[in-house]
Symmetry: C2
Subunit: 206 residues, 2 copies
DNA sequence: CTACTATGTGAATAACCATTCAGTTTATGA
DNA sequence: TCATAAACTGAATGGTTATTCACATAGTAG
């Protein structure tokens, strides 16, 4: 009936389910294309093929719809990454798969990537929660790797932000096609893993 | 008289200069506190202590003010980093100083950091331009280091996004006080440099 | 078939807000 | 001092938009 504590009324009948899904789908696309503030309830309902009032049968406000999308999608992206990382055995492979999974997901569904970052300008608390919980999960994985002696003894919380930063910016490069080089995912992940393996500097430099 | 091609009318008298500066200052603070869309022209002029109409003596629109701030501030942050990086001799030191300069700048003036990221939701073209030009400069510096044999042979464009990602996310951690560990800049930069020096994995792992 | 509930409608409401403009004040320099 | 331009004012305008509501329809259980 209710989703989380957001006061969203989930539909009970088959047709209403379709309407609900259409509203979600349209909102996701439009928030991506025109941003949260650039999207009106009328835009959303029109794209979903329903009247404006229908929106309020399911969502109490525009902001709650946004939060709902943010929660749903962050769960989705985390699940996807967790599955792929879980299938790998070494930490090296886990790191590689994690980065690849994130970039591929962001490329397939750039809306999600966008919505998460935009939270900084809609509700700072949501943004903070999202990255702190992502970091905490990352740290757990890294702790296990350190127990196994697979990674060096570095501060894991800082490390998690470093790795999230790498992944996010490299994904950004891919989905917005930034820079002049080709944005082939396999090639880019190779560069990242090379850096993580051997570091940036030559022997000569140190 | 005019700033860039933005059609901003710069003031000619001393008092008008003060007014102009107050508007800029108020806007910067309010865009940071409440975001671009959460800030009205009335908020800005009120905070600056002038009437609403005064705003339009100098800026043709709210969006142009935003672009003006973005341009001015990105020049400022780049200049600051360039100065500190230029003073270092080895690439290791340049990298260290660059990361530190960025984080310290972001901590001192978090508004700037915020404004740059928000461009993604105000004008995607501006965002793209900002990061592509930042990347291009970074690549130039890295090219020189590679000529000198100071860094390994990695794709420099990808590398620039990796390094920007690290710096941005670590700065984010500091200015939003994310995570549970202390956010001492010196300590964090040490972790980053350690990773860049020796890589993430132990010998055992490879 | 009937009553009931869920679903849907879209025009109306009430706020909000960027921008304009007709008029006023202030500074300047001759 | 006076004329002129620059700076400033703030109420009015016009457009936008989240949300509401009185009404309509469709599905369903009895």
């Amino acid at each position: 009936m209710k989703l989380g504590n957001l006061n969203i009324k989930e539909p009970t009948t088959r047709n209403a389910r379709i309407t609900f899904d259409e509203i979600e789908k349209a909102a996701l696309r439009l928030f991506y294309e025109n941003g949260y503030h650039g999207t009106t309830i009328n835009d959303i309902t029109q794209a979903a093929g329903v009247a404006a009032g229908t929106f309020y049968l399911y969502f109490p406000s525009k902001k709650v719809l946004y939060q709902h999308l943010l929660f749903t999608l962050s769960k989705d992206i985390r699940r996807e990454i967790a599955t792929r990382v879980g299938a790998a055995t070494t930490r090296y492979q886990k790191e590689r798969e994690g980065i690849k999974a994130f970039i591929e997901y962001a490329e397939r569904r750039p809306e999600i990537y966008n919505i998460i970052w935009e939270s900084l300008y809609i509700d700072r608390k949501l943004f903070k929660e999202y990255y702190e919980s992502f970091s905490a999960r990352y740290v757990n994985g890294l702790k296990e790797a350190r127990r196994q002696g697979e990674i060096r003894d570095l501060d894991l919380e800082v490390l998690s932000f470093v790795l999230m930063g790498i992944t996010n910016f490299v994904a950004l490069k891919v989905i917005m096609d930034l820079g002049e080089g080709d944005n082939d995912i396999e090639r880019i992940v190779d560069v990242v893993m090379d850096l993580l393996s051997t570091g940036l500097f030559t022997k000569k430099a140190s």
